[in-house]
Amino acid sequence: MPASNPLSRQAGPGAPPALFRPPSGRSTKERLIRSIFLACGLLAIVITLAAAGMLAGGSVPFFQRVSLGEFLAGLKWSPLHEPSSYGVLALIADTLVITGIALLVALPLGLLSAVFLSEYANFRLRQVVKPILEILAGVPTVVYGFFALRFVTPLLQRTFLPQLQFWNGLSAGLVMGIMILPLVASLSEDVLFAVPRGLREAAYALGATKFEVTARVVVPAAFSGIGAAFILAMSRAIGETMIVALAAGRTPAWPPNPTQPMLTLTTTIVNIATGDHEATAFIWSALFALGLLLFLTTLVLNVASHLIVRRFRQRYA
């Protein structure tokens, strides 16, 4: 999705400074229009703050009863059975295992595809493949979930993993890898392409082969940008809901075992939200605590990715 692509080449160094400062009283119409646009901007900020505030505020009652240590270090997530316990460590572990499988698929394939597109493919091929990647990056995730549940799991069971369960973390992770592959490829290609020509030409002038230029000059030069793309892909994988809700099952596994059903943070949120709980039930506050955890995790990853890209751009601007 080029529009929201934070590494997009078109993005300039920031908004140009305002050109106009209409003198007050020149025209009420101008001022009115300006305030309408200002209101739009303010509403956007209010909504964002409200989202963050709601998550934080909603989880206060939760943390009044469950200590932070119990929440983060507890292994057992069983909010509905007495005695209830609210440990998310197993959920985090399951989330990370599935994310890890996804990254194992997406990173090598995505990076190699990006290298091919940026260094080997000619202009016309790039013109064709890039839009395809963008379209693929936007395929609804429920489609990938269906694919994992109905094709990948049966295929693995028939071939080399007969002990694989109907719901399992493995096929969810593999398919999630395919899902984030276009994202990794597209973002990495952007940063590889942004490496200045001069670096390549200097290496060629010293007698390097194409492979040496690519592997020893271009990829290391773009390393931080590629890292940013990977971090963003990881954030996407952690926040992904529909694939795991369809294919990974609804039971927490400890120790994490990808051939068994696994419960991620996002599926736990789905479980609580779609469960039949009374409006006053304590479990609703767990929803906010989990949401907050997910939000903060992805926030840290996104900001890190953002900062790395900015440094990368500054170096080669």
Binding site: S4, P16, C40, F116, F147, R150, A185, T241, N302
Partner: protein, 472 residues
């Protein structure tokens, strides 16, 4: 001169990188192909439904062989082709066009192989038509033991053909003892499903035991008409019966999706473009805009599950909108708002500074500059972003799943306060149903969703390529 190995290594690496791209594209091509293959059965499913049939999977326990599945006619429409052929509700289908069938999937596969036209269907009638009502009576000579006897044998039934008469007591079916009225019929089904067509029946007539050859199978001709396009047309335009996959339809989900996305567009796009215009054209670079930018960037990266929590808490519970179309639209608006802002800002930024300066220098007010000079040039880019946001919103399921949108509704939402379902959630629902036929429905709905996605993306790409101006 370069040594040879240096060149060879480069070739291997080049091949590897092409391979990686191919693997990625191939995996996705496989995915689409598999979905198309799975959705193919929709035609045969529709043909059974058009013939007036709805099928359902049952199973019978056979001693020593666990459960044997069989397919039963769960619905037979009055005055339909199936009814005219003699089928009725509760009959067990055992063969279609020469192939034995044990589950609905196999019926549809058999029909798919046959093509249009009449096909011979064979079935075991329900008990009332197989041998009439059975009566459990106390054995006249061994009190305490129940005997199963035939009450009245229907004319033309398999029982009559085999020579059974009212008053006969059933002792065993295919070597297995009869212990109850329903169980006797299940023995017949279990035995036929395991192979033999003609069963040995031991009966007691008077005091005498007799062995009879019993052929329980009835045949009829049903003109099935598999029609690809009509099947799809009906799938897309009916609400259907959620219990039977051959009768289910996508209409309510399609309407729900359009309504929700419509509400979303109404809120997200004006607001998003407005915020972008403010940030790009009016705001000066200060801490406020800096904060705004960081916030918008973070909102854009928010996992959709978190957006769903927000929608559930604020729109559905605090504002009391419940699981309505309106609440769904607002939740999705929250999701695409940052995307819209980012896309619109990028589009505005491509308009060079001198366009604004030139307009301002001849006396245009800020609004006139924006309205007559900046927006016209930025519009194709803004529309591209809006269309991509629409595509994203149409496929998004997680926030609405959290909001509590129904997985299946049996009506078309009439107002913005009605509850609804959307295409991705309908897919989610069908994909998780274990019964035969639902995976096919999910695959068909996925093709619809992907088609919408492709159309919207193609429009966006064309817009971008055709109207994007290259400024010198």
């Amino acid at each position: 001169m370069r040594p040879k190995w240096r060149k060879g290594r480069g070739t291997v690496f080049g091949a590897l990188s092409v391979g990686a791209l191919m693997v990625g594209l191939l995996a996705l091509a496989t995915m689409i192909a598999a979905t198309v293959l799975q959705a193919r059965r929709l035609t045969a499913m529709d043909a059974t439904s058009q013939a007036g049939l709805a099928l359902s999977l049952r199973s019978v326990e056979v001693p020593g062989r666990e459960f044997v599945p069989y397919v039963v006619a769960a619905q037979v429409d009055p005055d339909s082709a199936a009814e005219r052929a003699g089928l009725s509700r509760g009959d067990v289908l055992v063969g279609v066009g020469g192939s034995a069938v044990s589950r609905p999937d196999e019926v549809w596969d058999a029909l798919g192989k046959l093509g249009p036209g009449s096909s011979t269907v064979s079935w075991i009638p329900k008990p009332e038509k197989l041998w009439g009502t059975l009566r459990a009576v106390v054995h006249p000579e061994r009190p305490g033991e129940l005997g199963v006897t035939l009450a009245a044998v229907p004319v033309g039934s398999p029982a009559e053909r085999a020579g059974l008469r009212p008053g006969d007591a059933l002792i065993s079916v295919a070597g297995l003892p009869v212990t109850g009225t329903r169980q006797a019929w299940e023995l017949v089904v279990g035995a036929v499903r395991q192979g033999p067509q003609v069963l040995t029946l031991v009966i007691e007539r008077g005091r005498e035991r007799q062995e009879l050859a019993f052929d329980p199978i009835v045949q009829g001709e049903i003109p099935f008409q598999p029609e690809l396009w009509r099947a799809w047309g009906r799938f897309l335009t009916r609400i259907g019966d959620p219990r039977y996959p051959e009768r289910a339809g996508l209409l309510s989900a399609l309407v729900g999706s359009l309504l929700v996305v419509g509400v979303m567009a109404l809120f997200a796009f004006p607001l998003g473009v407005g915020a972008a215009v403010y940030l790009e054209e009016y705001a000066s670079q200060n801490w406020f805009t800096e904060v705004l930018q960081v916030l918008i960037a973070n909102l854009a990266g928010m996992p959709s599950a978190v957006v769903g929590i927000f929608g559930l808490e604020i729109f559905a519970r605090s504002w009391g909108l419940g699981r309505s179309v309106f609440a769904g639209g607002l939740t999705l608006a929250l999701l695409v708002l940052p995307m819209t802002i980012v896309a619109a800002r990028e589009a505005l930024r491509t308009v060079p500074r001198w366009v604004r300066e030139a307009a301002a220098s001849v006396g245009a007010t800020p609004w006139q500059v924006i309205r007559f000079h900046v927006l016209p040039y930025a519009l194709p880019g803004i529309f591209t972003g809006i269309i991509l946001a629409l595509a994203r919103a149409l496929g998004e399921a997680a926030p609405l799943l959290l909001l509590g949108a129904f997985l299946y509704v049996t009506y078309v939402p009439q107002s913005l306060l009605d509850s609804f379902t959307i295409v991705p959630l309908q897919i989610f629902d069908w994909a998780t149903k274990p019964q035969d036929g639902f995976a096919e429905l999910a695959a068909a709905a996925i093709l619809v969703l992907i088609a919408m996605h492709l159309v919207l993306n193609s429009i966006a790409i064309v817009l971008r390529n055709r109207y994007q101006r290259r400024w010198a």
